[in-house]
Amino acid sequence: MGKTLSEKVWDEHVVRSAEGEPDLLFIDLHLIHEVTSPQAFDGLRLAGRKVRRPDLTLATEDHNVPTLDWDKPIADPVSKTQVDTLRKNAEEFGVRLHPLGDVEQGIVHVVGPQLGLTQPGMTIVCGDSHTSTHGAFGAIAFGIGTSEVEHVLATQTLMQAKPKTMAVTINGSLPEGVTAKDMVLTLITHTGTGGGQGYIVEYRGQAIEELSMEGRMTVCNMSIEWGAKAGLIAPDQTTFDYIEGKPEAPKGADWDAAVAHWKTLVTDEDAEFDKEIVLDASEMTPFVTWGTNPGQGVPLGGNVPDPESFDDEQDRIGAENALKYMGLEAGMPMRDVHVDTVFVGSCTNGRIEDLRLAAEIIKGHKVADGTRLLVVPGSVRVRMQAETEGLHEVFIEAGAEWRGAGCSMCLGMNPDQLTPGERSASTSNRNFEGRQGKGGRTHLVSVPVAAATAVRGTLSSPADLSELAGAGA
């Protein structure tokens, strides 16, 4: 029997395998940021250990960094201590760091791919659950805890039990205006937050093949939101074209050798998955969440569901709690939901393609009164590219705030937070209670929905904007 893509990549990285023990896997790239690494470096120091492979390690500052006044010292003393600790650790252990102010600084999952460090067939880990993003290149990439960060620093390996395999096949083509984000939100509502647990998922099918690398990263990014260990997509010409010429991409004969290998990274025809899910992209529509986990979503054209409509008792209680927290009534049309803040950014939707799409929709419009729009590029490079293309002018003219690079309001570790009761439409990945600030209410949306919502002040799609123009408003 043949192997699936994930089995091929896994097997290529097994250092040691023994009955009754997890496999010892070699890690090709270890990404680090300031929040989940300090205790790991401390552990090394206490044990008198070194970083085994600083040449396979890269650090950046992203979770805590301010997106305003980034050229000044960080105002929050506790955030500053954490960032300073990373700088000290990087220097002491010889790890390459892209600090705030550096041209390569940004969200760790945006930086890896844009440097060309993320390549097919690799194993990539980071103390951050959205490491699954890198699976878009055909890598096995997953988030780890701080104890495991220390383990990788010390040994460049991880002990991992081999997960089961799942195929998510998305047939057909996405309709105009429907994005990778809508696709993955639809999937998560279909599976629930625990549906992927214990699996490495391969996304495949026509709709996946038709996605850009940015779109594929959006889909893989949210693998963790339905509980999957990792999500990946077979590399193809789209992947190779994206990587070629990037600073750390293989060059010359190395490039040819790499591509020859990457082309073998596909699931064999006679391989079997432990589980399969099949969805049809052509039936998908803009999709938004109404609740407090990413599995609580509906089409934008739908209504807030009635908790009584859920068969499962836990789902019903969960929905009741969510509606109470979100301040929503069952039956209310999603399009009637007023939004205070729109956030465009994060490792889910903070890449250049996302900003181009947002600018295209916003151009010629103004942000609605009573609504604010924050546009936060995923990295300094994305910010610079956007400015080269004049996108920042479109945002500023519309009345949006054009910010510096970082995780920002996705999780509110920096000053970009919601206040209690404030409602957001966010292109990020989590609508958990208090995720974007204590008492904040989050609706997860795609970039086009975010942009249109900023203009209308209520959850909207770009199609609603043409109605706005048609009505002479």
Binding site: P38, Q119, M413, F432
Partner: protein, 199 residues
């Protein structure tokens, strides 16, 4: 890491599903650079509510948390495990744990005991009748026990063999792995030259 064999302690019912790690400890509490002191952020959003289970005097000394399904979803923050431990929890019982949370628990020495959903309900019912009651979790025999007499609860829980072995013996993962140093070095010597490097 300390060895874990068996634990008996006051059990607190957390009757919620999908308790994500942002609920266990919000991001604003993650800024410490130590492994201690995170108890102040544990379930921060709910602690202001007088009716929250951990604010009830009978659960003041709780060391076993009995939670609904899909506990520990979301962010990879090991701080969630540390916050539970710093507060005094030794065991979390649930019918389903998120993978990363389960892994982090095993590394840090918090026992994540997975039981059937019906067992969670039985323990919750028992605690409703006997607030402040204790639950015993025996890792050697993989059993949870509560109550006495004809209504006593005794059931098995799931944990993978390797994590159980490590917890029972209090073993340090890195030490175990470094005993395979020669195999790691051999693997490294065979990696293709075109694989990327950061330096």
């Amino acid at each position: 890491m300390e060895k874990f064999t068996t634990h008996t302690g006051v059990a607190a019912p957390l009757k919620r599903s999908n308790v994500d790690t942002d609920q266990i400890i919000p991001a604003v509490y993650l800024k410490r650079v130590t492994r201690t002191g995170f108890e102040d952020g544990l379930f921060a959003a709910w602690r202001n509510d007088e009716s929250f289970v951990l604010n009830k005097p009978e659960y003041a000394a709780a060391s076993v948390l009995v939670a609904g399904p899909d506990f520990g979803t979301g962010s990879s923050r090991e701080h969630a495990v540390w916050a539970l431990q710093n507060y005094g929890f030794k065991v979390v019982i649930s019918s389903r744990f998120a993978d990363i949370f389960r892994g982090n628990s095993g590394k840090a020495g918090l026992l994540a005991a997975q039981v059937d959903e019906k067992v969670v309900q039985k323990i919750w019912d028992h605690l409703d009748d006997h607030p402040g009651a204790t639950v015993t979790v025996d890792l050697e025999s993989r059993t949870v026990k509560a109550g006495e007499g004809p209504d006593a609860i005794e059931d098995s829980f799931d944990i993978d063999d390797y994590t159980r072995y490590r917890l029972l013996n209090g073993l340090d993962d890195i030490g175990i792995t470094l005993s395979s140093e020669a195999e790691i070095a051999a693997f490294e010597s065979k990696r293709p030259s075109w694989k990327p490097a950061t330096l």
